[in-house]
Amino acid sequence: MESSELHDLSDDADYAASQQQGSASMMRCDSEKRSSSSDHDGAELIYLKDNVAIHPTQFASERISGRLKLTKQDSLLFLSWTPYKGQTSNAKLSEKDRSLYTITAVPFTEVRSIRRHTPALGWQYVIVVLSSGLAFPPLYFYNGGVREFLAIVKQHVFLARSAEDANVFIVNDFQSPLQRTLSSLELPSTLPVASGQSIYPLDGGSSSENQGRTSAGVDNRVSSVSRYGLRKQKSHDPARDLSIHLLEKFSLVTKFARETTTQLFSENNGLGSVDKRWNNQPVHSYPEKLSNIAEEKYHESPHSYPVNEHDEEIPNIVDVPADPLEFNKLSLVWGKPRQSPMGSKEFTAFLDYEGRVVESKALRERVFYGGIEHQLRKEVWPFLLGYHAYDSTYAEREYLRSVKQMEYATLKQQWQSISPEQAKRFTKYRERKGLIDKDVVRTDRAFEYYEGDDNLNVNSMRDILLTYSFYNFDLGYCQGMSDYLSPILFVMEDESEAFWCFVALMERLGPNFNRDQNGMHTQLFALSKLVELLDSPLHNYFKQNDCLNYFFCFRWILIQFKREFEYEKTMQLWEVLWTQYLTEHLHLYVCAAILKRYRSKIMGEQMDFDTLLKFINELSGQIDLDSTIRDAEALCICAGENGAASIPPGTPPSLPLDEGILYPQDDDVL
């Protein structure tokens, strides 16, 4: 909602016309100058670059183009990026998606570093990393000019090239060498920010811990942002910020109120006391003034949900710590009992006489609620993974199998034909092969299918991974891939079929293994937004304890819980996730469900990052799958469109297919 206040000219007719014709940046630069000097209360435009785009997905075709600006106000430099209206390459990217990515005037005092990527081939881009540890998605300079951009930044703020990586430019100076490393490496504590929304809470009521950490004036920042003119009214008063933030929350809650029975909410009265011991913690995190307000409000109306979410009295802070209980309660009501796995006979009923899946949604629903009997997986997984089209016939699939078998043999031949003499001169190949050799012999070797010396299945796994690293040479091999392949090969029992299923899976999950970790960062970021939505006390707890990067969930997401469940359970979970029945991102709701289940322990024992990571790792083998899936389903339904909106478009494992179905586009926003 903030982004609607943005000043941009992209809906200007002149602008749109010039945009159609390609670049005419001088002209637009002038018009922008005029507008910025009048609109931004004297903020000086330093730099403007058109055709700077964000790719919400790994698909180059999906991009959001926009305008990058540097402005200066009271000697502070600000960066902003505004997407053009109606200029998206893909109609599926809605207005909401674009506003999710809008970068609203970020002061450089908040920027930790800028990483540039200027490949000889392909688009140049920069990644802007904030001192909070968050990062914006890469900004692609379609007309080039990264160097110029950096040169201009350098004229206004202190910019030092990182000692570790010549492509990283550190903004200002850092207190400790460690922080310098953290910022200059690929940023462990980094999350991509789909701006607007996430910058916003940082400005909001809970900035106290920011002050502790960055010392250099959060106040200063807030006030300068407000002087800058964007979010004018909101930024002065942290309490007001918070109230607007809460407004979003309450709109969610009131939505539940409509969708569920009122009885669920009346239960809250009794439950409030159960959770009271937690109420203090989040409240203490707010600035003192706020917690006072909170306490007053608490005594006034401990459990009143505003009837009208636009009501002024909304900053009812103590209700926020209490709200997860509603979700807990709801989950008991909403998560459907698991059914028994789908058998062969039942599956056949989904097919027409030529073998087409008549109603793919019904099939996916069936698998979502019960999974698949093991012998049948071989037939159904290729559909779920996207290797087979639902509307393909038996004959077409059989034909595809033989074609793909030949294609696989050709790909495999590429590395098989490398002689020892050639290998000597092919370091990259040797390194990859070495890495794969090391990993396949230690992937699921205790599992019957892969156990024992000279196991042929282990060899197949090696061959598939090596072939894949040629098929997708850019991505190569990365640890974790063998975890994905192992069950697939076990299910498919055929090297070529397993390879193509793996290829299909990597189309979605390849970004997990990207060198820049962007796919992981996006998912961890989306998870943080979901937890914020579904359990704000827990979110605040993570925030206070510097756990907001959610790296303790890294393994869960990287290999979709492969190491958390026993083999059979992992396959059950995967086929549920792969149905994409309720959402493409059920795995993130699964993360949220597990975290919520252990929230009392996490907060009660005051776990810091280390303890939390240890705790999470040790949950391996302890998590009950069925109830977790039910909770995740409930959370997903509860979160509804607010949940979907928390996940930036293109967050893995998104594919451009079926997006209309998977993101219910409901304009009935509260």
Binding site: T181, P188, K438, Q479, L613
Partner: protein, 200 residues
């Protein structure tokens, strides 16, 4: 002995090194006295803790075992942040893993806790026939860089306990791990309160 509380130390130790050098195997041998021929790769990081008695004191090592692949390098600072000690592991049958170990040493020297106790472990010492890195070479490097060096074998348990004990012995009596300046405080009552509070 009545003031045993003063002699309890908590110390964070991180293992770094190339893929398949045997980081997880060393920890597993040390903590559980187990060895798995095909120890699965580490995703993200793993955490273990083990308490040792060293010179009348109890040292609780909180051990962080990390992923080796270069692509996950960026996660490492999260784990060596605040570490009081590090074991940099290489595989004596693999020259590249030794080169990688040197890189880790450099990084820790530049970015780690200045008082960090660093050990260099030449693992897989049971595979003498396949040796590619001589003990002399590693020893020389270690001396030049003020590390202590041991050849270990997680498989046969050779020197595994020893290297962890040696680290525990060398730890400053009062842990500066949480203190970014790395200052060593004088040993005295109360000084260890913060670090010892969790010890049994």
């Amino acid at each position: 002995m009545a003031t045993a509380g003063n002699k309890n130390i908590n110390a964070k130790l991180v293992l770094l090194g190339d893929v398949g050098a045997g980081k997880s195997s060393l920890v597993l041998r040390f903590v559980k006295d187990q060895f798995v021929e095909f120890q699965e790769s580490t995703i993200g990081a793993a955490f273990f803790s083990q308490t040792l008695a060293v010179n009348e004191a109890t040292v609780k090592l909180e051990i962080w075992d990390t992923a080796g692949q270069e692509r996950y390098h960026s996660l490492a600072p999260m784990y060596y942040r605040g570490a009081a000690a590090a074991i940099i592991v290489f595989d004596i049958t693999n020259q590249a893993s030794f080169e990688r170990a040197k890189k880790w040493v450099q990084e820790l020297q530049a970015q780690g806790n200045p008082n960090m106790v660093m050990a260099l472990a030449g693992n897989k010492a049971d595979l003498l026939d396949a040796r590619k890195v001589s003990a002399e070479e590693a020893e020389t490097y270690a001396q030049e860089n003020s590390l202590f060096f041991m050849e270990t074998s997680a498989k046969t348990a050779t020197n595994v306990k020893d290297i962890f004990y040696e680290i525990a012995k060398r730890l400053p009596r009062v842990q500066p791990a949480e203190n970014p300046t790395g200052m060593v405080l004088p040993n005295g009552p109360g000084a260890t309160a913060a670090s010892a509070s969790c010890c049994a």
